[in-house]
């Protein structure tokens, strides 16, 4: 294991790896600072460009990009109150008041250093969990992997948005879309309408970029304006923020661990992790009055958690094939495109790829923080770029991406169709992550169910882990209903208390 850790680290110091890492980081910084273009959109846009790369190189590029988006997103959240990334929204609460009080540099220093600490905490937990989880993954067979996919879908479906039933419906729609093409067992064409290009099914890339990138581009086309209208005045005191991180190391450590745990749970992820961490930071502090008015602890907790969650996200994805967020679902798509199957192989045969991913998270955070600190002013100037300059080139990039996977113009048409569906879904609050998950997990579920049924028959549902997972799945469906009921009871009690 130690040898593998060292060799995967050294493997990052080849020219191609360095170029891909720096390229990914550069794109991640731009995407992170521009609101609207989140990590998910960037991942969807860049996925087709990894086809010619080796698996390790493609993950160096994609994860390098993904890891720094949160770091860059901190800047606009703190300085302008406009989160560059959904995972940095909690920073606005205390970061913006600090910036208004002339402590923007201190807040940024605290956010950068806590982000770095969080990423390292998440990565260490991931390193430590690998030897523990390997025997566990070897106990899992096709029935368990089928059930894990079902549970993952149910979790994401039920926790996404205000109406869990919409999430479940979209997961079902995703599975339905995944059945387009030849059936893997009997080669029966399904929903192909006689089109030869649909025999291989819908392209993951076309569906993903259509659902995620086109709605954001449409929004940019309508908004047109840049986010920052004023220039940036001098930002000093970054070191003071770093000192704050060291002074509150215990809080940073605890919120980092909390973020990793939240990151493992499907359907939660960065946005939830930062708010849970913010709530925790307030709860454990003796003096709570300054929170919301510019308390540095309100910056440290969320920063640490939203970066440590990446370790948790990867842990669930690599070991169980459970994507906890939409971004991780797209990364799972990258796994499948490169012929990698999550599970024990990722912790044994392809351990080098897994360990490379962990190193990429750490190194890209270090580089991201360094670049953001040194080049703060030029990076912030990106926020003055007009939306109109980005719309058409991004649209072209989307089309090139969807075309180049299979060199088929039908995929471009599929992208446009799903773009329209994506805009409607986004505007009507129908969650998109369960749909993407359904498209990606659907074929895995069908294959594992087919193989499991052949090997065990109906007994595949009587295996202890499968039963435990079934219970978990039922819990996932009932959880939001129970939460709603409890909230209603609590509100009713509160009302009656007031009247009394």
């Amino acid at each position: 294991m130690l040898d593998a850790i060292v060799s995967s680290f050294l493997g990052l110091f080849t020219w191609t790896a360095i170029i891909y890492l720096l390229g990914g980081i550069a794109i991640g910084l731009v995407v992170g600072i521009l609101p609207g273009l989140g990590a998910t959109v960037a991942m969807a846009l860049m996925l087709p460009f990894t086809f010619s790369m080796s698996p390790a190189e493609s993950f160096i590029f994609l994860l390098g990009m993904y890891s720094v988006t949160t770091v860059a997103g901190d800047i606009t959240s703190i300085l302008f109150g406009v989160p560059g990334e959904p995972t940095t929204t909690a920073l606005v609460v205390d970061g913006l008041p600090m910036a208004k009080a002339g402590e923007g540099g201190r807040a940024l220093g605290a956010a950068f250093s806590a982000s770095l600490a969080g990423a390292v905490i998440g990565a260490i937990i991931l390193f430590a969990a690998i030897p523990v989880l390997l025997p566990l993954t070897r106990m899992l067979g096709t029935p368990e992997y089928f059930m894990l996919a079902v549970v993952g879908l149910l979790f994401v479906g039920s926790v996404s948005g205000k109406a869990p039933i919409k999430g479940i419906a979209m997961a079902a729609l995703g599975i339905l879309l995944a059945t387009v093409g030849q059936d893997p067992q009997l080669a029966q064409p399904r929903y192909t309408f006689g089109l030869p290009t649909l025999i291989d099914g819908l392209s993951i890339v076309s569906v993903t970029v259509g659902l995620y990138a086109l709605p954001e581009i449409a929004e940019l086309a309508v908004t047109k304006s840049a986010i920052a209208r004023a220039g940036l005045s001098k930002v000093g005191g970054l070191l003071r923020g770093v000192r704050d991180t060291l002074e509150h190391w215990w809080l940073v450590l605890r919120t980092g661990i909390l973020g990793t745990i939240v990151g493992i749970i499907p359907g939660l992820g960065g946005v939830v992790a930062q708010w849970v961490a913010y709530g925790y930071s307030v709860q454990v502090s003796k003096d709570k009055e300054k929170f919301g008015k510019g308390d540095v602890r309100g910056v440290l907790g969320p920063s640490s958690a939203s970066n440590s969650k990446e370790g948790g996200n990867l842990l669930a994805l690599v070991t169980f094939g459970l994507p906890s967020t939409a971004t991780m679902a797209i990364l799972l798509g990258a796994f499948l495109i490169h012929g990698l199957v999550p599970g024990p192989e990722m912790l044994s045969t392809h351990l080098d790829v897994t360990l490379t991913m962990v190193w990429v998270i750490i190194i890209s955070h270090i580089l991201g923080v360094l670049i953001c600190t040194v080049l703060l002013k030029p990076i912030v100037s990106l926020t003055r770029v007009r939306g109109t300059l980005l719309v058409a080139p991004l649209l072209l990039l989307v089309f090139i991406g969807s075309y180049s996977e299979r060199n088929s113009f039908t995929d471009v048409i599929v992208t446009v169709v799903f773009g329209l569906v994506g805009v409607i879904m986004a505007k009507l609050d129908w969650p998109r992550p369960p749909l993407i998950l359904g498209v990606i997990l659907g074929p895995l579920m069908e294959r594992n169910l087919g193989l499991g049924w052949q090997a065990y028959g109906v007994d595949m549902f009587a295996r202890p882990i499968v039963i435990a997972l079934m219970v978990l799945g039922i819990g996932a469906v009932l959880m939001p209903l129970a939460r709603k009921r409890l909230t209603r009871v609590a509100v009713a009690h509160g009302d009656s208390g007031e009247t009394e």
């Binding site: 039933i165 929004e219 309508v222 109109t388 089309f399 329209l420 409607i424 169910l449």
Partner: protein, 168 residues
């Protein structure tokens, strides 16, 4: 319940019914997953629709009692939201369709460059500087870098471009 929500849910139900019906003609093992997904989609959207229609019917009575000022503000907000959504839908349909048509006709390099230049010209309301630069940069990146240096063999378009054909 919003009209859009209602239409989307009904659309999903019809899609599920159609897909489920189509799957009945396939062998059991091929039809299992599509049937399972269709039934799940059908049931969940029907439940969502039924619950919301029930809630809307119940909520209508007290809403009549509300003050006119509040309802007028809410109407404005809804109208703004609907207007913006309409604009975004147009942007999501017209813009990609126009660029896609140009690419289909002239290929990624020339069609893409014209698309970029035209959009910038329309968005900047008649300024020529950024459209020319944007179109030129696109032509160089797609036509030269992607097509020739990286040999990406992108779609050349259905129209023969004669002596300009080497670009796409």
């Amino acid at each position: 319940m919003r009209k859009g929500d209602l239409s989307f849910a009904i659309g999903a139900i019809l899609l599920a019914a159609g897909c489920g019906w189509t799957a009945t003609s396939w062998p059991f093992r091929s039809a299992l997953f599509p049937m399972f997904a269709s039934i799940s989609l059908f049931v969940s959207c029907s439940v969502y629709l039924a619950l919301n229609l029930f809630r809307t019917a119940h909520a209508r009575e007290p809403a009549d009692v509300g003050t006119s000022r509040v309802s007028s503000a809410a109407t404005h907000e809804v109208a703004d939201g609907e207007h913006r959504m309409r604009e975004e839908l147009i942007a999501a349909v017209v813009l990609p369709l126009a660029v896609m048509l140009l690419i289909w006709l002239l290929g990624f390099a020339i069609g893409g460059a014209i698309g970029v230049a035209l959009y910038m010209w329309l968005a900047d309301r008649g300024s020529w500087w950024s459209p020319i630069v944007g179109g030129g940069v696109t032509l160089v990146i797609v036509g030269y870098l992607l097509n020739h240096v990286m040999e990406a063999s992108l779609f050349p378009g259905v129209i023969e471009l004669g002596s300009f054909g080497w670009i796409s």
